[in-house]
């Protein structure tokens, strides 16, 4: 199909990438040429205890405590969790709940710190020499530093570094595609800190035990590509800098791996099955800081952009800085934004309240004006098939939508509901502006809920059955014991009777003998 269709922007590289995908206007020019600035310390910092996939961290400070920069304030709980550190020195003024950086806007456990403005470091983590450190030591350091995937997935990085134990790995891919429109934080980081990213990549390769490193950058970032070309030695390995077509969602792990290696990751599996582990460029930078300097993950580069922002910029901000402070630092808003987002415009989270803080996975703060969102009335599906053409997972979104609206969740699951990666290509393209991803996400939530309910019911049923079985077993055992005892008693009686009879017989015999005498 894609070969046949007469594409206006025919790009031979596309033949080797993946099927589907879209080419939205990137609008990266708004902030691509703004060098990374340091954002001043805000008046209040709010650090959520859950900034990662997995279990939320456990607070280890209390209200009134004085904390130093880099001090542990939230401790990882369980194997998939992450440490949280104080982004600057100051006083803990609350350990409670605050609005989540999430569309629900529900309160989540949060530690609020009033910075003292001195930014005093506490003791840092012990530095490691990656050249002589073992993979275990590196992974432990990354875990200690609380590093999570900074491309937005926020999966604890150390867990991914430990995949070596389970899979036969060959390749580390540094994901610097940055396919989301507007975002330029990774682009800037590569232009300005290429050497440090390379070093971080080398350290991660060592932890994974792989020797091949590929840095994948979309073709629309020539300066970043050039910068990485200049620093391609990573801990003694030569990294391959690969230019990939600018095509959303190139940054999706499986699609990136398909583009680089031509291999498709099986459904419901990790790219590690193919021997490839993917880490984000900003994560590599954080690993560099953690291993070489003992600095935990307490700040990140955030792109502040959108046409409603006066002065788009790339800011290095402390985790926990409120969105409103970032926007104010960028000259405030020039118009009422139609949408305020954390992350990119394709998969970012809309937020209601600008007081929510940024977290480790926040690559962007966007204030989009009305002419950028192009919100329109929802029309009926005209079956144009565009959503099918652009779906990178090979799904039929309009059909999923119809089935879900008809309440047929099982039917939707049968045609691939759970394979959807929420990339949004379908909704972006739909000429009828149908809320396809929204419906799909809703259905996934419903299905998960139903599954967990079913799981609970099954659990309860199993427990009940086990109880009955146990009771039955006991009763059975009792019955058996009784039967045994009865049998024994019977046998005893019989034996006694026999013995008596024997004795009687003997007596009789003696008697008769005597009588015979």
């Amino acid at each position: 199909m894609s070969i046949l269709s007469f594409s206006g922007r025919f790009d031979p590289a596309r033949l080797f990438s993946f099927k589907g995908g879209i080419h939205p206007e990137t609008c990266k020019f708004l902030s691509a040429d703004c060098a990374i600035e340091d954002m001043p310390i805000p008046a209040l910092i709010r650090v959520p205890l859950q900034q990662h996939i997995g279990v939320e961290a456990e607070p280890v400070v209390a209200r009134g405590d004085l904390v130093l920069k880099g001090q542990l304030i939230g401790k990882a709980r369980g194997p998939v969790s992450s440490n949280i550190h104080a982004p600057t020195s100051g006083q803990v003024i609350a350990v409670g709940h605050f609005i989540a950086p999430h569309p629900s806007g529900l309160p989540v456990p949060t530690i609020t710190i009033r910075p003292d403005g001195e930014d005093r470091w506490g003791p840092r983590l012990p530095r490691l020499h990656p050249e002589s450190a073992t993979p275990e030591q590196i992974a432990a350091q990354v875990a200690e530093a609380g590093i999570v995937g900074m491309g937005g997935a926020t999966f604890p990085s150390a867990v991914k570094l430990n995949l070596r134990a389970k899979y036969d790995l060959q390749t580390l891919v540094i994901n610097a595609a940055e396919c989301e429109p507007y975002l330029t934080c990774d682009d800037r980081l590569m232009r300005e800190r290429a050497e440090e990213i390379a070093d971080g990549a080398g350290i991660m390769a060592k932890a994974l035990g792989v020797s091949e490193i590929i840095v994948a950058i979309e073709a629309n970032k020539p300066q970043a590509i050039e910068a990485m070309q200049r620093h391609k030695i990573a801990l003694g390995h030569i990294m391959r800098i690969k230019t990939v077509p600018a095509q959303y969602p190139m940054g999706s792990e499986k699609h990136l791996v398909k583009t680089l290696t031509g291999k498709e990751t099986p459904a419901r599996a990790l790219t590690a099955e193919l021997g490839v582990v993917v880490h984000n460029a900003a994560t590599a930078h954080a690993v560099h800081l953690a291993v070489r300097y003992g600095e935990p993950s307490i700040s990140r580069v955030v792109t502040v952009s959108g046409r409603a922002v006066a002065r788009p910029a790339n800011l290095r901000a402390l985790i926990g800085t409120p969105v409103s402070d970032l926007i104010a630092h960028c000259g405030g808003l020039v118009e009422d934004p139609e949408r305020l987002l954390l992350g990119g415009p394709m998969m970012g989270q809309p937020i209601q309240n600008p007081r929510v803080p940024i977290v480790k996975g926040t690559g962007g703060v966007l204030a989009l004006s009305e002419r950028e969102t192009r919100e329109r009335d929802v029309m009926p599906c005209i079956r144009c098939g565009l959503c099918v053409q652009v779906c990178p997972m090979g799904l039929t979104p309009f059909e999923l939508n119809t089935r879900i609206e008809a309440g047929d969740l099982e039917g939707a699951a049968k045609v691939g509901l759970l394979d959807c990666i929420n990339c949004g290509c379908c909704s972006f393209t739909c000429p009828s502006n149908r809320p396809l991803v929204q419906t799909i996400q809703y259905a996934k939530g419903k299905l998960a809920e139903r599954d967990s309910r079913k799981h609970q019911q099954e659990q309860a049923k199993r427990l009940a059955e086990a109880r009955t079985a146990r009771h039955e077993a006991i009763a059975e055992a009792k019955r058996a014991a009784m039967a045994r005892r009865k049998a024994e008693m019977d046998a005893n009686k019989k034996r006694e009777a026999e013995a008596e009879a024997l004795v009687a017989g003997a007596v009789e015999a003696i008697k008769s003998k005597e009588a015979a005498k």
């Binding site: 569309p103 415009p345 009335d377 009926p380 972006f428 000429p431």
Partner: protein, 357 residues
């Protein structure tokens, strides 16, 4: 669905929307339409306008009856486009009530009976055409010679009489369309060579200097518009190519085997109605399959049916019936021809490592 939809990504949207798509199709139809109007003169203009206005009125009426938001839906351009396409398939000098009936059939029976935009199983314009062909065989096959209505042909007053007065000078309309002529002559036992000599220049046919429906005479201009649709990415090349390809292959084969009883493929390909079908009718989003392979099957089916109906059927045209028949197959095709899901085999199992996807 009752639960509130959480606002989630994407927060930006492409420029494409329904009315833009409809507009693009109209732009691409313009050359052939303009040519038809110019050639068949004022009666064609009247019929064209009457049909479009009627389509719009029927649309508003149906929306009102269904209780749908009239302003939003009636301005999406789909009703105008349907009226437009219906008009192009009518005989250019047909009286006004034929246009109104056709528009009514298309909008009411073809579209709204099924639930409105996007819900119809059959192509509305083809529903109207097929019904009229059966119901009004005479009025639907009155072809005029293009010269008659051309510039310097019929005056405005006379034209009003033709469209609204039902006053067709019968001697003015003695023509037959090329394909019906071929068929009737074949039925009369004429050899192919003689018929071909009679119908004259294939170039005239291709560029549209022949009798025919209002907007279906110029295969060339329709092809031009069709290429425009593809370049604007409103349609993909799959359906037009498979329709035209299968007609060419089948008619070529038949002509190669029995040149005396089948017209050569270029007679088929130069017919405007085939071009119209390939680019503008068969590609209708609502009634065609959504995947590339499905579109190919669908297109080949239409092409084959057109050839069969034209060669052996009772109607010299056959486009309408071919399209309707394949429309009926679309749900089936969509059910069985699905794209392969990423990371899965066609059967839906996760792919095995080491094996080919």
């Amino acid at each position: 669905m009752t639960a509130p939809i959480l606002v989630s990504g994407p927060h930006i949207h492409s420029r494409f929307n329904v009315s833009r798509t409809m507009m693009a199709v109209m732009v691409c139809l313009s050359p052939a339409t303009g040519f038809g109007l110019l050639h068949f003169g004022w009666p064609a203009v009247f019929l064209f306008l009457v049909t479009i206005v009627a389509a719009l009125l029927f649309e508003v009426l149906c929306l009102a009856l269904a209780g749908k938001p009239i302003l939003r839906f009636a301005t999406d351009g789909s009703a105008i486009l349907t009226g437009w396409i219906v008009a192009l398939t009518l005989p250019p000098w047909a009286p006004w009530w034929v246009g109104v009936t056709a528009a009514g059939l298309a909008i009411v029976i073809g579209k709204h009976v099924f639930g409105g935009l996007g819900q119809n199983l059959f192509n509305p314009a083809m529903v109207a055409r097929a019904m009229l062909l059966v119901a009004l065989p005479v009025q639907m096959t009155v072809w005029v010679d293009p010269v008659l209505g051309g510039p310097g042909g019929l005056g405005f007053q006379q034209a009003l009489a033709v469209t609204f007065g039902g006053d067709i000078g019968i001697d003015a309309v003695s023509s037959a369309s090329v394909l019906s002529h071929v068929q009737s002559q074949l039925d009369a036992g004429q050899p192919m060579q003689a018929i071909l000599a009679e119908i004259g220049n294939i170039h005239d046919q291709f560029f549209g200097y022949v009798p025919g429906s209002l907007g279906e005479t110029s295969a060339f201009l329709l092809l031009l518009g069709g290429v425009g649709l593809i370049l604007m990415r409103v349609i993909t090349v799959v359906i037009p190519l498979s329709v035209l390809g299968s007609v060419a292959v089948l008619s070529g084969a038949a002509w190669g085997i029995a040149p005396d009883s089948f017209p050569p493929p270029q007679v088929h390909l130069a017919s405007g109605s085939l071009m119209f079908c390939a680019f503008f009718i068969a590609t209708d989003y609502v009634t065609s399959p959504v995947t590339g392979l499905g579109k190919m099957i669908y297109g080949i089916g239409i092409g084959a049916l057109i050839f069969i109906i034209r060669s052996w059927g009772a109607f010299p045209e056959g486009v309408a019936f071919a399209v309707l028949l394949m429309n009926a197959c679309t749900p089936l095709i969509d059910e069985y021809v699905r794209p392969r899901i990423f990371g899965r085999t066609r059967a839906g199992k996760p792919i095995e490592l080491g094996g080919k996807p």
